[in-house]
Amino acid sequence: MSMINYASREINCKLVYYGPGLGGKTTNLEHIYGKVSPNTRGKMISLATETERTLFFDFLPVDLGTIRGFKTRFHLYTVPGQVYYNASRKLILKGVDGIVFVADSQIERMEANVESMQNLYDNMSEYGYDLTKIPFIIQYNKRDLPNAAPIKDLQGSLNPGWPIEDGPQQRITPDPTHTGENLVEKVDNQWIGRAPYLEAVAVRGDGVFDTLKTVSKMVLKTLS
């Protein structure tokens, strides 16, 4: 739920990094915190357990700059990935403007990815939010690991596509970041849409800013 304050000329948006435990959500935020100038970001808050597992959330505000006289600030949140923290995970989704699903590319984590994706759909629908209609991207993290599953398999399991019923949207929409692939296309006589995806190695920072940039643009587009 973006908040526009005409008195202080501010736009505030909320981004949530979702995904299975140990997938790299906190690492994404830590990298952003480390690389962005202290003038353009606030303090990073982590509500974590003694073993540094996210208990409630991580929080990092980042200023994107001034747009048409409005100071634009993104509030980045992560959720706890572990299955049994669903109550707190759901709270963080309240008022979300954009979602990054950080998937763990390791073959062994495929089931955890699918379970977390299903959990995201369920929690969003409980709030009455439609994941296919809000800015949503998938980041395939840990691409450097030898046991990383092929992108095709990850896409098949986590981003198979949703039916596009709305006529004007039924047109081939190329994926700007992957040549030869489409975000909207006709498959077996059915129009489907998919979430944009990016590859990342968050511990090295690869793909972290591309992910943030992509989802931020999508969120701002919804305001224009």
């Binding site: 739920m1 973006s2 908040m3 526009i4 304050n5 005409y6 008195a7 202080s8 736009i11 505030n12 909320k14 962005v36 353009t40 606030g42 303090k43 808050i45 509500l47 409630f56 959330f57 929080f59 505000p61 994107l64 700059g65 001034t66 747009i67 048409r68 409005f70 634009t72 600030r73 509030h75 949140y77 109550a87 707190s88 709270l91 963080i92 309240k94 008022g95 979300v96 403007d97 709030y127 009455g128 939010y129 439609d130 209609k133 809000i134 800013f209 943030l212 940039k213 931020s216 643009k217 701002l220 587009k221 919804t222 305001l223 224009s224």
Partner: protein, 162 residues
């Protein structure tokens, strides 16, 4: 609903909110009042400027309030409409406003919890009216910035991330 609805408020709304909060602070002798929306964004601050990171404070306030909301439901209550965190010198009083915003009052030994609660009730009633009128107006008022925001936004994002 595709996603969460945006809301915006005008300078006039802001003035009204400030006036109510200033009167409330005068009446109860509290140090500072903050309004935080339920998603963790700071809406307004009145009184002594906070000496801490107010963005972080706002996100933790919303989390605190939301977690307590769930705890209320678990014990069979609809909600905890207000919360108190009492310290040795500094204390906080939190109260729900129009189900979308949280009033946070910071106070010290110059006043009492009883007075803050008593005057807080009236302040919440005033604020409820202001916010409800504001939310009812969504769609009719300047709910979104002017067209053409995207071009500017893309430039700014590109600049920030190089």
């Amino acid at each position: 609903m595709a996603g969460a609805a945006s809301w915006s408020f005008s300078e006039n709304d802001f003035k009204q909110i400030q006036q109510h909060l200033q009167a409330f602070l005068r009446d109860c002798n509290a140090r500072c009042a903050l309004l935080v929306d339920r998603t963790g964004q700071l809406v307004a601050t009145v009184g002594d400027p906070p000496q801490f990171d107010s963005a972080a404070f706002a996100s933790l306030t919303a989390a605190d309030f939301s977690a307590n909301d769930q705890l209320a439901k678990m014990i069979g209550e609809q909600e905890f409409a207000s919360l108190v965190h009492q310290g040795e010198k500094e204390s906080m009083f939190l109260a729900d406003v129009a189900k979308r915003v949280i009033l946070v009052v910071l106070f010290d030994q110059r006043t009492t919890l009883g007075l803050v609660k008593l005057k807080g009730k009236g302040a919440v009633e005033h604020l409820n009216r202001v916010f409800e009128a504001m939310f009812n107006r969504v769609g009719a008022g300047p709910a979104a910035p002017e067209k053409g925001l995207l071009e500017g936004a893309e430039d700014e994002i590109d600049k920030l991330f190089g």
